[in-house]
């Protein structure tokens, strides 16, 4: 097997795991075992795995409410994740976080916020501190296209450029903010806009292509480790509804054909040979994680007021 094949296989395995995890969530959801909103990443897995594979394990990442993919790609463990989705004591955060606030500080996922754009300055601040610690680590801010409309994003770009902060801005552009199209929301282009702050960047149109995302991220990371911010805008597609486990084409705010065009190129759909080869093993992993969640106790009154301060 060539290096290229090995990398592809590693990325594919991680992406497939994410998809299978989310398909399991879809399966479980009607049982009400997961009693919190879920924002699925199905269709966007390649972005998460391509980025995380190009990072050092000790690089830090800050994400959003749609972060199952980044949690898994960064190396978060499935057992505590399912227990967290179930609201159980063995969850990552003992059930206080749920799907929208996944984190795994042991592998560098430093939090995910449900208030759009609010974690972007956290990545800038963490990167500023890492720069002072001079260990060569960087921080990554992951956000959607809608987040670029928030004021704090502009503040963050300005500060990162001004202070030469080693932060990588990753815009996952699925062109939708809930149900609003990008064209109805933005008067600017994301890469050009960042460039006006002195933050260079590029747009990757092939967001389905894990290897392309990985390569672009490697180049971006090299730039950032030299002590300057960089931006990647990665075009991608949200197959499912904004929140929940269904599709939403019948509401007619977007067309199924847009998504079908992505699906035709989606390796997790196209490369059925590898899907067939890897699925059984990954399903066993997921079964074990779900079993872990099922047997974990619910948090009790004694847990209600811990860790407030």
């Amino acid at each position: 097997m060539t290096d290229h094949d090995q990398v592809y296989r590693r990325l594919f395995r991680s992406a497939l795991l994410i998809r299978l995890v989310e398909e399991r969530i879809i399966e479980l959801y009607p049982s009400d075992r997961i009693q919190s909103p879920v924002h699925l990443s199905i269709g966007q897995e390649a972005v998460a795995v391509g980025i995380c594979d190009a990072l050092r394990p000790d690089d830090l990442l800050f994400a959003t409410y749609r972060s199952h993919a980044f949690y898994i790609a960064k190396g978060g463990r499935l057992g505590p994740m399912f227990a967290e989705l179930y609201g159980r004591r063995d969850g990552i955060s003992g059930g206080k976080a749920g799907s929208m606030h996944l984190s795994a500080p042991d592998v560098g996922l430093m939090g995910s916020s449900a208030v759009v754009a609010s974690a972007i300055p956290h990545a800038v601040g963490a990167a500023m501190a890492l720069k002072r610690q001079s260990g060569g680590r960087i921080a990554v801010a992951v956000y959607g296209d809608g987040a670029t409309e928030e004021g704090v994003y502009h503040e963050s770009l300005n500060f990162a450029s001004l202070k030469k902060i080693p932060v990588l801005f990753i815009c996952e552009n699925n062109q939708l903010a809930v149900h609003s199209h990008l064209a109805e929301r933005q008067s600017y282009r994301i890469v050009e806009h960042a460039a006006s702050f002195g933050v260079p960047g590029r747009r990757i149109d092939q967001g389905w292509d894990m290897l392309a995302v990985r390569k672009a991220t490697e180049e971006a990371v090299a730039h950032v480790r030299n002590g300057k911010p960089y931006l990647l805008e990665i075009m991608t597609a949200r197959y499912m509804e904004h929140v929940g486990i269904g599709e939403d084409f019948h509401f007619q705010y977007r067309s199924r054909t847009e998504i079908d065009a992505w699906k035709e190129r989606d390796p997790l759909i196209v490369d059925q040979a590898l899907v067939g080869e890897l699925t059984a093993e990954l399903i066993r992993e997921i079964d074990a994680a779900v079993a872990h969640a099922e047997q974990s106790p619910s948090p009790q009154r004694a847990d209600l007021l811990t860790d407030v301060l």
Binding site: G111, P121, N158, F159
Partner: protein
């Protein structure tokens, strides 16, 4: 008035509020290499009214730096830095600007520990300065202690003297596990206080009795503590009323037992806060007492705060807007003697003028 009568003369020294702030900033930065200081103007020639002057030169621009006008972003940056071991100290030269950072303070910083189940924490100190007098107007005068203390996860303090700063800040910086908001008062900055050479108080992060008394309890915050002390002296001299003054000091975590026990003793309560009464600190003080035992109050309490309007700019209106020494003394005498107390009240139109003239030491 002397806020520190129990201090042994040999240890006592005179320190202004601004100087106490500068000393605590300086010693925190000297003691802890992870402490950094940021805020608009923190490294300029005015140095946040003298509380950060010279620190940029001493510790370098990596650790003491000015920021663009980006209150939300800067608070988020502090949070991110705190997550990887730095201790940020942020300043806002007017508390009103912290409202631009409400998202980061309320939605993020206050919740980071709890929301992630205690696996991450974002300790930081946010210093807000409340403005008053010389036409600060509606947007340079707000005192947001009740706003912030409402949210679990935030620690809110209001130092009323140099002693309070020297006692509290070393126990906050790099010690408190989460975000702390300290609401400082601009009129206190230039006042001189007699302080102990070394902190002796164990209760520096909560409330304390500043002046013991038998007849009336006054619970006060920030500069109203000084007003309460002046009013207590007046009431003692003119009417023989013995007032107990409690500096609430910590707004989010006061010593409610201390307050309750004082009111149980006196049965009469005046609350003097620097903000509005509606849904505020004064209401919370009463709630805490009533929940313990409403019958300790011999009569309805007196409450002093800003008039229920945005702050006016005109001096004639501003003097009416804030509670005066006249109002504070009257509150005490109404409690002690009833509304027909017949004692002549002090004739002092503008408290701000008094504090600007005053050179202490307190």
């Amino acid at each position: 008035m002397n806020a520190s009568s129990s201090i042994p003369a040999s240890d006592a020294r005179v320190v202004s509020y601004a100087q106490a702030l500068l000393e605590t900033m300086d010693s925190a930065m000297a003691a802890h290499s992870n402490v950094f200081l940021m805020g608009q103007g923190v490294d300029d020639f005015k140095g946040i009214f003298g509380s950060t002057t010279g620190l940029a030169a001493k510790y370098g621009s990596d650790r003491v730096f000015d920021v663009p006008l980006m209150e939300e972003g800067m608070t988020g940056i502090a949070l991110g830095a705190a997550l990887v071991g730095d201790y940020p100290v942020m300043t806002h030269i007017r508390a009103d600007f912290a409202f631009l950072a409400m998202n980061q303070i309320v939605n993020l910083a206050s919740k980071y520990s709890y929301m992630f189940g205690g696996i991450m924490r974002c300790p930081m100190l946010i210093r807000l300065v409340v403005g008053r007098s010389w036409g600060q107007g509606a947007q340079h005068s707000q005192s947001p202690q009740a706003t912030f203390a409402h949210y679990p996860g935030l620690t809110v303090v209001m130092p009323s003297s140099s002693q309070s700063i020297l006692d509290m800040y070393p126990k906050i910086i790099n010690r408190c596990p989460g975000p702390v908001i300290s609401i400082e008062h601009r009129l206190l900055y230039n006042l001189d206080f007699t302080v102990a050479g070394k902190s002796a108080r164990d209760d520096s992060l909560t409330s304390y009795v500043l002046r013991p008394g038998r007849d009336v309890t006054v619970v006060a915050t920030s500069i109203m503590v000084l007003e309460a002390m002046r009013a207590a002296s007046y009431a003692a001299e003119r009417a023989g009323v013995d007032v107990e003054v409690i500096d609430l000091n910590s707004i989010s975590h006061p010593d409610w037992d201390l307050v309750f026990n004082s009111v149980r003793k006196t049965g009469r309560l005046v609350i003097a806060d620097t903000s509005w009464l509606e849904y505020g600190v004064a209401g919370e003080v009463v709630r805490q007492i009533v929940l313990r035992n409403p019958s300790v109050l011999k009569q309805p309490p007196s409450m002093l705060g800003m008039a229920p309007a945005p702050c006016p700019t005109a001096k004639s209106l501003e003097d009416l807007y804030y509670p005066s020494l006249h109002d504070t003394v009257n509150g005490i005498l109404v409690q002690a003697r009833g509304p027909e107390h017949g004692v002549e009240l002090p004739n002092e139109a503008s408290m701000a003028d008094v504090y600007k003239r005053f050179r202490g030491p307190f």
